[in-house]
Subunit: 298 residues, 2 copies
Amino acid sequence: MNNIKRILISGGTHGNELTGVQLIRKWKAQPELCEAKAKGIELSTLIANPPAVLAVRRYIDQDLNRSFSLNSLNDTNPSMSVEAHRAKQLNALYGPKGENTQTDLILDIHNTESNMGISLILSEANAFTQRASAEIASEFSGVFIYFQPEERSQSPYLGTLARADVCIEVGPQSHGTLQAGLFEKTEQVVYRFLELAQEWNEGVLQNKPKKKLSVYTHYKDIDYPRDKNNNISAMIHPDLQGQDYVLLEQGSPLFRTFYGEDVLYTEAKTLCPIFINEAAYYEKKIAMTLTSKSIEEW
Amino acid sequence: MNNIKRILISGGTHGNELTGVQLIRKWKAQPELCEAKAKGIELSTLIANPPAVLAVRRYIDQDLNRSFSLNSLNDTNPSMSVEAHRAKQLNALYGPKGENTQTDLILDIHNTESNMGISLILSEANAFTQRASAEIASEFSGVFIYFQPEERSQSPYLGTLARADVCIEVGPQSHGTLQAGLFEKTEQVVYRFLELAQEWNEGVLQNKPKKKLSVYTHYKDIDYPRDKNNNISAMIHPDLQGQDYVLLEQGSPLFRTFYGEDVLYTEAKTLCPIFINEAAYYEKKIAMTLTSKSIEEW
């Protein structure tokens, strides 16, 4: 990756995820707080989905953060939803998605109700985002790296409007609420990303020794057990609740049915669950995501 | 209170509070589970706000559980919201609110994101609900009694359609999700209420010795600090988060501003906060409710 000239920091991509919303409001009131950390870099801040923020809902018509594939952006269907329209507007303002984008880096701030601490979600191998994430994961406690490889042109995430991106996923926090500790930690993590972008432009970051760390790579999503009417028939097992990033072994409980029976994890492969019991994923039929843990040098 | 002839158990009064929704679905599929506990009593189960349950939102147009005052029920304004219409329908089915109601007791199951365990909310002094709540609070751990006196005819709560009611408030649980442990405990608490209703009809419950217990009585609600544009300017303090029902003393921290300053509790009166950081109450301008704790014999 060449010099980082323009960075976009976004929040409110989902309107009920308030850490990003309030941080962006703070930085719009005092842009110097961010500018001091990234000298020589052009910074923008963005509330990505204002109608959803106003309604304190994830989205109005469709999930904005599933609206940025090239196919979606090029769809000329005139009956556009609020979010399809907004995605095209953001693509014009900060893209266009692809080689000629105006934006080098997007940091998109999200919340989850799962016990995922600060998870740095990378959707492709990128020299800067890997090095910077590795530094941050080694400096802060409770920061995890989740690698979710995506073909970039068809990836639906806001961050893919830029050459590189990190989705900063912060939890556990109930949607529509704020946790002060998470707000303050997220703020520090974003400042550190900005400092590291400046170090990158100075040629410092790429010459630091790599860090050995745990990387959690997407393996597969798991749905809830369902009855013959396709309604969920079980809940996350009490022993699994909050155990994001903890190794799941064969025979461990996954679910508890409404009639008190346990549903166990039967696969031989040892994996780590994340996004356990995230409200927004009930409609996406995801009870949790399983990841494989590896030790890597980034 | 005379014999309890008809009981209504309701859930989904708020469409994103899933413990009640799933318990009611379970009991509609197997009504004998409840009937076995309350012989000789006519039982009904109700999903109170089906459109909101379908949308997994608290409400569609207005809060259903603020729609049952006599004034609201008698309002003949023809441009009715989904919930104003539903409230009148439920009043016809289970009321009419007042002396001639068909329903002796409503148990209305709710969730909160606050750390309130199972809170039994009583809105008036009533011989049966006080005795039964006292028994349950002494039998189960983590059950609290919150007394919120209301003039019954103008009280806006669904439960006031009946002669007596208990609002069973269950947390902490993020809206739109389920916690298996809370589901199972709530189920047991409802079964115990049904057994105690039968004991009441048999003349047994009213002759048991009273229990000495802690009662938390509504004192006042507290809003978030706000800026000149009326936006919130602070979050629940990290030290206060989750400290529902814990005594709050003068000088204790209440809030943390977005700029890292602490806002303290300055009153001399020692009170207990509840509903700390409940998402649904941001729009109602309630950061927490303060209660006064007393030891009573019920």
